[in-house]
């Protein structure tokens, strides 16, 4: 189905279809991955100081999947997440998002891709200080040019869906860490993204709060079909995911599905 392929011109202004639409459903049915990395490398710095953070990564992620990315510190997890989130471009290799060559896009085209299809949850929450939960959640909608009334409604709904109804007017300083992270998730969700990217979303939280966040991510994945990619250091948290990808030294070391026989298969995500 050609509808799965995202056209580049769609990112030059006209708002493309968003969220989990028929095209995504068709992609899942057909097994066409929403994300496809081929031979991706990333080199930081130049000359003597050059450091190769990714050394040829192949990875396919299907729409509707819930993937935990694990691996030792410095193995390139955040680097790959930044690439997948279109915040950065690979040094070499190919990254296709819904069929579109991300590595060929301009900075602004990538920004449009992010605002239409991607939601981010950061480890440090990264909410705007002295700004109410409601306003924080409305922010992505503001950049989409949505009307005020629509924004208010969508933000309230998103906050309610993460269990923060009634907390709309609290600023981050007035919220607990778990609540702040839930506001951050609401902000990522409010645009109904196709993919939610979370780099250590529970890194700053205690076990109890972490479980609440993981339950929330599971619900979103199950009930709204949002593809979730999450970096974590804790196997407890990874246990919530459908699939676990291990990175070691800039490469995919292992990749298996949970709740079935673990598939230990070095390097090849697409086999």
């Amino acid at each position: 189905m050609t509808a799965t392929v995202l056209s580049r011109s769609a990112l030059d202004g006209a708002p493309p279809a968003r969220g989990m639409d028929d095209a995504d459903a068709a992609a899942v049915a057909q097994g066409t991955p929403i994300i496809r990395l081929r031979g991706v490398t990333k080199v930081y710095g130049q000359g003597q100081a050059a450091f190769q953070a990714l050394k040829g990564v192949d990875l396919d992620i299907d729409s509707g999947d819930f993937v935990a990315v694990m691996g030792p510190s410095g193995s390139g997890k955040s680097t790959v997440m930044n690439l997948l989130g279109c915040l950065d471009t690979p040094t070499s290799g190919e990254y296709r998002f819904r069929g579109l060559h991300v590595e060929r896009l301009s900075r602004d085209q990538r920004a449009r891709l992010r605002r239409q299809y991607l939601g981010f949850v950061f480890q440090g929450f990264n909410l705007l200080a002295r700004t109410s939960a409601q306003e924080n959640v409305e922010l992505p909608l503001l950049y989409r040019g949505q009307r005020t009334a629509e924004r208010h409604r969508a933000a309230r709904e998103a906050l309610a869906s993460v269990g923060l109804a009634g907390w709309e007017h609290h600023t981050p300083a007035e919220l607990s860490g778990g609540q702040q992270q839930r506001v951050a998730i609401a902000r990522a969700l409010v645009t109904s993204p196709a993919v939610l990217l979370a780099d250590e979303p529970t890194g700053n939280l205690d076990t109890q709060r972490s479980r609440e966040i993981m339950d929330l991510l599971c619900t979103l994945n199950r009930e709204r079909g949002i593809t979730v990619l999450m970096v974590t250091h804790e196997s407890d948290m990874a246990a919530y995911a459908k699939r676990v990808v291990h990175f070691v030294d800039g490469r995919v070391d292992s990749d298996w599905r949970q709740n079935s026989a673990p598939r230990i298969d070095a390097g090849r995500g697409d086999t």
């Binding site: 602004d108 920004a111 449009r112 981010f120 950061f122 002295r130 306003e135 503001l142 950049y143 040019g145």
Partner: protein, 402 residues
């Protein structure tokens, strides 16, 4: 999008009220200074110009003395005689009226009230040379002038001080040892550009003052008013020749009198106030520029301080130009806000200061508008660099910023 960005900027300004206030303080002071200086300067120029027009047609003043200026003694030079007036009137063309003038400080008494003022001894021509209108009563009769009759015409201030609300006509005032009938009242001229009360005068026939006040035959000043359209320089030259001849000066001798052109003096004065206005305005404009640099400074700090925030905005899909616009609009709104407050402050300051300095307050829409637009322009110029810096941040780096 523009509206949204404007809302974002306003929200950000409101969120940091104290910082915003400090940021715009420089602009506020700069704009207020520029407008106040220019407004007051215009008022002062207007005051001088009013003075020029109150002089009426061009007036020449002939004063005894070598040359006017500091350190030049005037005491040695002979004063004028009454006959000089006749000679000028009959021998020089292009003139409207000639009047002698003798002044003395006196105390006048009436109704048991005292008033210290100055008495001017002159002829009816004085009312013409000095542009006085008679508000009530009459001028001098010929025989009164000749005989030095005890009659006087008084100014509005003298009337108020001696007679309160009553009419002075037909009343008598005592000057020195003699009693003098008030036959006329001068129409009020108000204050001069120098703040002197022009209505504080008593005018008498020349002979009356010479005999009963100064006690000599001398005349201090000759006042010559010109006909409209006559050549001031030519009249001045022939006046000088005539006076040299009458005072029997040899060719190698310097003038022992001066011919002053009051209109020229006033124009010089108003030219000076204009230059002063421009200078003060320029100094104030520099302070406005400094205010702009203040904005840039704070905006740069703000960009650094809000690096993480910018990272978040970029990560969730803000375009480069949206971030640029946000910071630019923030700077412009701040600067324009400063401009508005400055305009308001300047209006208050100008009204109060104009009142204190006794010059007219002239609202000048141009300078208000220009200053306001200039302050907004400063927001654009000095806001652009920090805004561009914010927009070009790398989202990953920005998010990692501590």
């Amino acid at each position: 999008m523009l509206l949204n960005t404007l809302l974002l900027a306003l929200r950000e300004i409101r969120r940091n009220l104290m910082r915003s206030f400090l940021t715009i303080l420089g602009i506020v002071i700069g704009v207020a200074a520029v407008i106040t200086m220019v407004t007051l300067g215009n008022g002062a120029t207007r005051a001088v110009q009013d003075q020029i027009s109150s002089l009426g047609s061009n007036l020449l003043m002939v004063l005894p003395g070598q040359r006017l200026g500091p350190g030049m003694p005037t005491a040695g030079a002979p004063l004028f005689k009454e006959a000089d007036v006749e000679a000028i009137a009959s021998q020089i063309g292009g003139i409207n009226a000639v009047a002698p003038e003798v002044r003395a400080a006196v105390t006048v008494v009436a109704n048991g009230r005292n008033w210290s003022t100055s008495v001017t001894g002159t002829s009816n021509a004085y009312f013409e040379t000095n542009n006085w209108r008679i508000a009530g009563g009459r001028k001098f009769e010929d025989n009164e002038e000749r005989a030095g009759a005890a009659v006087c015409v008084i100014g509005e201030t003298v009337r108020r001080e001696l007679f309160g609300t009553g009419s002075p006509l037909g009343e008598h005032v005592r000057v020195k040892q003699f009693s003098c009938e008030v036959i006329g009242l001068l129409a009020s001229k108000g204050q001069s550009a120098m703040g002197r009360d022009q209505d504080d005068v008593v005018v008498m026939p020349l002979h009356t003052v010479q005999r009963r006040v100064t006690g000599n035959q001398r005349v201090n000043t000759l006042l010559v008013s010109l006909l409209d359209g006559s050549d001031t320089e030519r009249v001045k030259a022939s006046l000088t020749d005539l006076m040299r001849e009458r005072r029997k000066l040899a060719d190698n001798e310097d003038d022992n009198f001066n011919v002053l052109d009051t209109k020229q003096l006033a124009e010089t004065l108003s030219g000076t106030t204009k230059v002063m206005t421009m200078l003060l305005g320029a100094v104030a404009a520099v302070s406005l520029l400094v205010g702009g640099i203040g904005i840039m400074n704070i905006m740069l700090v703000s960009v650094t301080e809000r690096t993480r925030e910018i990272g978040v905005r970029l990560a969730i899909g803000a375009l480069e130009r949206e971030v640029l616009l946000q910071f630019l609009i923030e700077a412009v709104v701040l600067a324009a806000l400063g401009g508005l407050v400055g305009v308001a402050l300047a209006t208050i300051a100008s009204i109060v200061l104009a009142d204190v300095m006794q010059i007219p307050y002239l609202f000048n829409p141009t300078i208000n508008l220009v200053s306001f637009l200039f302050s907004a322009g400063i927001g654009v110029v000095f806001g652009y660099f920090p805004a561009r810096r914010a927009a070009q941040l790398d989202p990953i780096e920005a998010l990692r910023h501590e």
